[in-house]
Symmetry: C2
């Protein structure tokens, strides 16, 4: 297994406005994307990878600055999603802060930075923007669309909005909608950002400041929910900041008895995660993306009946094929939520494979290398490849 | 079953400094407390009730302003902890913001408000302060000490520090220490407060402001962890702010597509909880109390061996008797954590009763009326009363 190697992001301009679910229009925007592998002559081997909250078009390979793609362990030559067989597209969603048009860019309507005026986007809007990009790349039908977490919601939405344009939907560690608790965590994070005095109602760019305090707290909350409680106990437990740095290996200095200083390693870890995040992530993007998560709920327009929502995936003969994967220790998007989707598919007699992986890493497991997980992914993509070449 | 009726808080001054676990001293302080029922001639029917994060000495009955005690459903004439039989003491811990000396009071050393200079207190310090109050009330030995959550930790600590002074320890919805995830939630809440520009390093009183933004976020985070996920789904689900307020009962207005306005009822509920809390709770108290939770870990001084820690509870013939209660849906202090305590007691051949209640309300269940839970409590206190009168 090798790496995709050096990659360079590409940009595509869309001068035709995108009609959004909210009724607003996103005018004249850019989409940043990357591709790995080669599109075959039949244009039948394209796989679109959708990103979650804190990710981008940079799925695999390395950028000039040395940064590795966020799913490099999954996508590459000989990897589960094998770029020797598939043409893989990583796309950055509008509203993001990693290249595609977002809140930090100029609003063509008035020449000022969008800030809080950037339109609120939904999963469905992202999927439609991605479909337009596929048009421009000359890809009428994807071999698969794939994503984890919020990326998984996009994969599901593709199967519902554009069922004739996608042969397979691979949705990992995802859910048919957010629970009240999920929304609650998002809302606390948003309040931390919005009430930071440096947020300035979302127009902080003009003030030359960044609501870092809010972003830090938001990231810390998020991080707690990405990790499994047991894994956190194993990795950090109640170890104090001084453990292992004492005079001998066993030594542990006593507590400082301080409410503001770091006492426990978990505190140090979380603060570090928060600090890093606040250096590069855009506050308006955080609000937009968590809202897109909140809104996603394909059953809503069908009286809450998920099976009726998924009937759309039967649109063509054979229908879209599905692979769903969940992780036992993921308490943010638990296996029970994936099973709801499986049930809705089965109720529609749609082909679905489902794997529940007993990995210890919580929600983050979808990004990590686990042999059982990668085996499932590899086998599914081999099946897709065999179909493409008529060997299925 | 009746109510305790009108009650008036009392205050006791302690001019002798309290030596704290940190090595600091708490000089010349006041303790606020309340009592219900009558102390018998043998002074053998006293039960001390310890409070958790957001509570006080006001356990039962009503204050002149009409406010009801936080455990009024548990404590009163004919209630599980029957004030016709027991003399019940509610005590406010130093460092709190509800009456006993705390960060908003004057530091006798310099005549200025303590603020962030208030000494960091531990569960053990609170227990020692409570023991001093018992001395002054002429109570050598308690029939029981009782508490839930952080209050349960105080009850456990009584049995370890003053085993000859307590016949029974009733510890509900508690844990032998906080997990890494518990500490993580506390730390995020603290960072929200400490990084609020209105915190002023803990000396906000002098600036005439209150770090309300931080307190709101802290309370919202806490609240999510007090509720069970299923109960949250049942109570709020994905209902929007407008549900039920439409033209007819079924009507639900569409989303506003806003990142800052309320869309879902759970958001409205959490914001309301945060707003209320920020109006009355002291920021320095919040920091102190969450730190006391973090520090509590009786096994720490025994190489992490909880059974060795609980050997102290065998100090007198028969030892302290224990009742532990946990709630199946409590993910903050799960039943597994109570079972660790039960095991440590059993390893010491200490008498322990344990009940695991399948109540739907998460951690908050310990404050609520559940027939199975209250039955267990009532039966245990009836047993204690029978012992007191020699009928056991």
């Amino acid at each position: 297994m090798g790496s995709v190697g050096p990659v360079t992001p590409q940009q595509m301009n869309f001068s035709e406005p995108l009609a959004l679910k909210s009724g607003a229009l996103l005018a004249d925007y850019w989409i940043t994307y990357e591709t790995y592998g080669t599109l075959d002559a039949e244009r039948s081997n394209a796989v679109l990878v959708c990103h979650a909250l804190n990710a981008s078009h940079h799925v695999a390979g390395t950028h000039a600055d040395g940064s590795l793609g966020w799913w490099d362990n999954m996508v590459g030559p000989g990897k589960p999603l094998d770029t020797d067989r598939f043409f893989v597209i990583g796309v950055n969603n509008p509203g993001s802060c990693f290249g595609s048009t977002g809140p930090m860019h100029l609003n063509p309507a008035n020449g000022r930075v969008y800030g809080a005026d950037f339109p609120v986007l939904t999963v469905e809007d992202w999927v439609d923007a991605q479909a337009r990009l596929m048009d421009r790349l000359g890809i009428e039908r994807l071999a698969a669309v794939m994503g984890g977490s919020l990326g998984g919601m996009q994969a599901l939405s593709w199967a519902l909005r554009h069922p004739r344009r996608v042969r397979h939907c691979v949705a990992i560690a995802t859910a048919p909608n957010l629970s009240a608790q999920n929304i609650a965590f998002n809302e606390v994070a948003r309040r931390a950002i919005v009430t930071d005095p440096d947020f300035h109602g979302g127009h902080f760019y003009a003030h030359g400041v960044v609501p870092k305090r809010g972003l830090r707290v938001a990231r810390m909350i998020g991080h707690i929910t990405y990790l499994a409680e047991d894994a956190m106990d194993e990795r950090f437990g109640r170890r104090t900041r001084s453990a292992g740095s004492g005079i001998d290996g066993e030594a542990e200095i006593g507590f400082a008895y301080s409410t503001q200083d770091i006492e426990f390693q978990i505190e140090s870890y979380l603060r570090h995660q928060g600090d890093k995040f606040s250096e590069y992530f855009d506050a308006n993007t955080y609000l937009l993306i968590t809202r897109a998560l909140d809104y996603f709920d394909p059953a809503r327009e069908h009286g809450g009946d998920l099976a009726r929502a998924f009937a759309a995936a039967r649109a063509h003969p054979g229908g879209v094929g599905f692979l769903l994967v969940s992780f036992v220790t993921d308490w943010r998007f638990s296996p029970a939520r994936s099973r709801e989707i499986v049930k809705a598919l089965v109720d529609n007699r749609i082909k679905v494979s489902y794997a529940e992986i007993d990995a210890p890493h919580g929600h983050d497991a979808f990004l990590l290398e686990d042999p059982r997980y990668h085996h499932v992914m590899r086998a599914y993509f081999e099946r897709i490849a065999a179909e493409s070449t008529g060997l299925a």
